[in-house]
Symmetry: D2
Subunit: 433 residues, 4 copies
């Protein structure tokens, strides 16, 4: 393997098994990062040319070649093979191979330290945008579902016990509202990624008269991360906070998945689920299982573990780059992938579900109306506490009512008769993705 820091002897001397254990990275991750690394280097090279740190014609040659390499990296023709330590080394070697000596000049005023952070930020920014487009689709699906079943009664539960009348629309749009509330948190994470760290070099800046703001502008980034040491201090920190920022989304998926697993059991049987999203058993011919929801529910915990890893792998370290940082890369990239695929999968599930109105209605046993009976006593002038004790003493007198009338009759904002779907829809429309 060719290491850019190696003199001939070093390369031979590093223990092979140790190399395999420590540095054999997942090639897939480096292939994913490669286009972003090249994108950053193009901006860096153009800046070097404009600042006259490298000759104009060489800068142009570099840029032209790199743009070609960018296309190849994006379409997969330029890709990692196991002999490369990382994508940074591959790009450097490939550039020199293609443009000759001029290629070596690109590597002034930078280090792999700022290069890897830079590629990671650009990747993060892009991946957040992709995730947001899936989140939007999923919220639209939830909104449609909520509208369609806005006035379908469903038993509401507390402590997993039947409690009070609710509705399918209320249930579905409760998840939607939590998702809408994630807007500021996710945008804050975007802001953390939308920064330029190039020029911080190994973490202490460089003697060359570079123009970092120019690079920021060329990359269309929101801000230059000023302090060179802070660029390394943010390695792993921004990654961790980005994963945290999607915790709320993953939480909603976990809870929705769990509800669906239970609500499609024989005991509840509230929903009809298409074969597009259920599986069978290898031994029991009677089974149709909502496997995807179980898997999504489980992956929430895998995601939480990734947050735990990201939180702690960069703790108790000394300022400046540490190799422990490299362990945060797969955690970050796998974590983001988990978010995206969980959103896609849950959207498919919801799109394949319809209701069983009779079964939903069957869950309306008399006790579910007890609180409403109390409330009527109150409206007749009793205090709530007294009415509560009164009804409790005569629970058997509570009878089944018409669920639909019941849910329609509750009209304050956020009650079954007034779910505020229009407001939620407006918030969805106003979210610029």
């Amino acid at each position: 393997m060719s290491k850019i820091w190696a003199s001939g002897k070093d390369e031979e001397s590093f223990n092979n098994r140790l190399h395999e254990i420590c540095f054999k990275t997942n090639l897939d991750y480096d292939n994913l990062l490669m286009p972003f690394d090249i994108e950053a280097l193009i901006a860096h090279g153009e800046m070097l040319g404009e600042c006259q740190l490298i000759p104009r014609e060489e800068a142009i040659a570099i840029a032209t070649t790199m743009r070609k390499m960018l296309q190849e990296a994006q379409n997969g023709t330029l890709k990692m093979s196991p002999e490369w330590e990382d994508c940074h080394s591959l790009i450097e070697a490939e550039l020199i191979k293609r443009v000759g000596e001029a290629g070596k000049k690109l590597y002034m005023a930078r280090s792999r330290n700022d290069q890897v952070v830079s590629a990671t930020r650009l990747y993060g920014r892009k991946k957040i945008a992709t995730i947001l487009s899936h989140l939007k689709v999923f919220m639209e699906t939830l909104l449609e579902f909520s509208k369609e079943y806005e006035m379908v009664p469903m038993a509401g539960y507390t402590h997993t016990q039947r409690a009070m009348p609710a509705s399918v629309g209320m249930w579905a749009s409760s998840f939607l509202e939590i998702l809408l509330n994630q807007k500021e948190t996710i945008e804050a994470a975007y802001t953390l990624n939308d920064v330029n760290v190039l020029g911080s070099a190994a973490g202490f800046g460089t003697a060359f008269k570079i123009d970092r703001e120019l690079v920021t502008k060329k990359l269309g980034l929101g801000k230059t991360q000023i302090n060179s040491m802070s660029c390394q201090l943010s390695r792993g920190q921004v990654e961790c906070q980005t994963l945290q920022a999607f915790w709320g989304v993953m939480f909603v998926i976990n809870r929705l998945a769990n509800d669906l697993v239970w609500m499609t059991s024989a005991e509840f049987d509230f929903f009809k689920v298409s074969k597009a999203v259920t599986t069978g058993s290898s031994i029991m011919p009677n089974k149709r299982n909502l496997d995807p929801c179980e898997i999504l529910r489980g992956r929430f915990h895998i995601f939480n573990g990734h947050i735990a890893e990201a939180q702690s792998v960069i703790a108790n370290l000394f300022s400046g780059y540490n190799s422990d940082y490299q362990e945060s890369k797969p955690v970050f990239m796998e974590g983001l992938e988990l978010i995206q695929t969980s959103l896609e999968a849950m959207n498919i599930v919801i799109s394949n579900i319809t209701i069983k109105e009779d079964k939903l209605k069957a869950a309306f046993s008399p006790d579910i109306f007890a609180t409403d009976v109390v409330n009527r006593h109150v409206l007749q002038g009793n205090s709530f506490r007294d009415a509560y004790q009164e009804v409790k003493r005569n629970l058997e007198a509570v009878t089944v009512e018409d669920p639909l009338e019941n849910i329609k009759s509750k009209t304050h904002l956020g009650a079954t008769g007034n779910l505020g779907l229009k407001q939620l829809e407006n918030r969805l429309r106003n979210w610029q993705f």
Copy 2:
């Protein structure tokens, strides 16, 4: 103990040891929540009056009494004792004791379910504000420290090895910049807490014609959380995301604390630390230890554990209130307290540190200038890669330079000679706390 849901027999029958294990809450937490619970109830009661759900004069009597109770709760004269299940029960009983039958009427159109979420959100909103005031003080301290030592050279490390010239100001302001980058994330968490959930009752709304927007306005909250089920779905979720939002702050404290522990060891000895922040040993008379930084470093991991608990205690649960939620309360409140005290403590530490200029200078061994020598070769026309190999072959030829001249000579934004402290100061000034 008096339980509001109990008929006489129930109360006797619940197993005593089980009650002790499950419900003996930390009284301190309920005392802290009590004022916020009362505040919410006042708004609720006024709304009931204005909506003519309870007679005007009774509404006034309730409000007057509750305002008095609020003062007592704030100054500590109204407080929990072990016979109360929670502060909600105490307040209800106390109100009825003081205003009689009218007091019972306050308990229409709400439940302990929305009451506890409501008090928690108001508490969270207030506590975030308190934490922000401490964060501001700490950032000011860091800024002053950075300005004072802006031009004091300090060895920069990578892999815990001496790497390149840096400065005390660069080191200190690297932490400051990360803190400034937390603005959007923390504000997003504030937004999550700045919501009104009252009126969602047990999680399904209520039959009474209440005006939830009016309560939102009275409490000065940013938004009504519309969907009644979503109010319970957010129990623990907002708490978790609030802790996550301060992870970046706690991370900065962890890393700063760790740097200080090492940089005040005999081997580095970069800083002079006052006795206000060091301790001695029970057996070794020679010791002065920077105990507080070790403790703060350790508490970061305790904080991470709290996030882990908050993330997972509400997973895999069925929609609607579950008692598992109650376990998230101490996690949330302890977590916020940890943030506040860590900020206070680290501010005291930094305020008690001065530099040892001679020791800082002594760390500038020749190798630290090697990269700068390479860069000069580059400025003379060599490519970076060739110059690198050239210097590496003749490392012994690299000699010590004047560190101050060196750090001054690097003038791009974010390098030692141009730390951008003015920009950071502007960002600090523009942060509305």
Copy 3:
């Protein structure tokens, strides 16, 4: 506050707020540790006397006084007040107050570093024994429950869907067998705590000619932890591994609690639960909730968070004592308390549950017998795969069978008709607690 390492000036100079934040320990923990600290000091003092490091008569005076203090600490008359830094300081001061100058001599050949580890190990050893006695009671309860309902049919579920016939006895004893499998793991944790660290002093041993093996013998401990540095290296490590060793027990409680929450819902309604273990609602008079099981379920996640804290608070630290270690004390002691109370609570719950045989039977819908129909095809000579497809094509032909006959007919070890309860009982009887 009196600090044993302080000369007059130091004491005054330490920042008050910083002291409050860093060292204001939970007095309860130190009260719990105090008897164990005294117990260790008695053995240490006797050893010093027998090794002629302190005069015989002084050693006797110290031992006599300390034994009295031990009783007082155990009955709560000697206890912490806020002015003491920790129980070690209190004991030292109290001893000197009572026996005069001789008391000071006890503090040779030890340090607070080995003293706190020593008290923690003795506390851990004792607490494990207490937990084991509760575990035994709980396993006896599960065994009795399993025997009583050994032949009561219960639907068996996979993917939360009805799958095949099972029994209440099979369900209950499945938890019992996992608990029995914890024996070796828990005993290993006991072994880790059953060690003597006294004499390792501050972590590097001492110049005095002490006899550590004698102290080990006096304390009835299994082993001397030899290497003095390893005694400090084990600080937090043994605590973490002790918590981990009970994870299996806590997991069983979590899963049993969750099953009970669901199986007592209206949809399943498999069990009759006494009022001793259920609670009501403040707003819904119809509710009886199995609150304790929800809380126990939730506390599993709190416990997991404690393991996470214990795992990571001692990571990335330099050899020798670090103050970060002190943060592991509450994590350890709270964690053990959680285990004990969870066992007690779950035992109370199980003791208050009986079955609803009709509801259990009602869950036996035809599909649950489909696999048995396949098996009968196989016994008639078909291959399993072909029989499976055959039955799947004609699922509607599968009819309800007698559940009791069905579960009796399956007689291999571990099937419903042969639960091996006798073997499990033997394993329980052979577990020496």
Copy 4:
């Protein structure tokens, strides 16, 4: 893709993207599990033959074919390709292809549910043995290192401050003793894996008259896991506890790695490290970094995250198989791989380290002898507390002593002059791997 539970239509109907997201397993894991799955099936088939559930000659044909497939799976010629759902499906299809109809009969009295647990236990048992062989090598290396440098003085640190005289041998063997203390915990984990779950089928046993004890014997396993439901309840639980059981080993590697990073910094410079284990920088020609130790240090946190995932992914689930379980498989297998490679890597590092005696000696500044001066006062008749204050008042009078004489003079068990290496060696020799 061919699914064994599918009738023609089902197969077509499952959503492709959902399948990709949920079931596209890592082929590597299934390849690793395949030999163990086959091994279990061979024992199962032989038992079926001996119990006359399938004809003798067919049983022989199956066994012969499966043994051939076992060899092919072990040497990699039989392996997964993406069209297979899992290795269980591949094996079933392959067997039927090779022996015809008889192959289908093997699939009586089992399910994928017990099959996957079975393969996982056999894999776990084998992997633990492999890890133990690496642990043994590493402990031998540590023992040799400790013996070689038994009498080389090294400064002992507390709070990262120089504290008292220690030695290289004491430092190195402190890690060894903690590793030796892991014996019972690791053996307990082995016991958890050393069980037979075959015959528990889908988790409720089977109607066939199988002989589970015979299978246990054929597989050379320690115990039959009796209760069929407990076999599924243990899915993920044993995996989690197996990872936990190696936490102590990973902790030792983390702390040793961290010590080495610091002790090879310019400020300490205690060790000479060969080029076999250090790397260079892409920008700073002066750097030699102990990269592997940083990476190993970081991977401890990744490992902790895996434990967190394993702990929580199986929580709050209903009894019986759930698809969430499948998410614990990569966590388990990656976790075990992390343990093995970390042990290998740290062994290589230690084998490439020698000491720098002059630098070790240079750290013996006068203050490090202060405690010994106190102790001499005590031996002259002063109480420890008075002597401590006396020396503290005259710290400047403490002078440098001969470190070697000092460490030799401390002769109690576990002090520098008596490290008990012989006892540790005996414990290592007596550990049967």
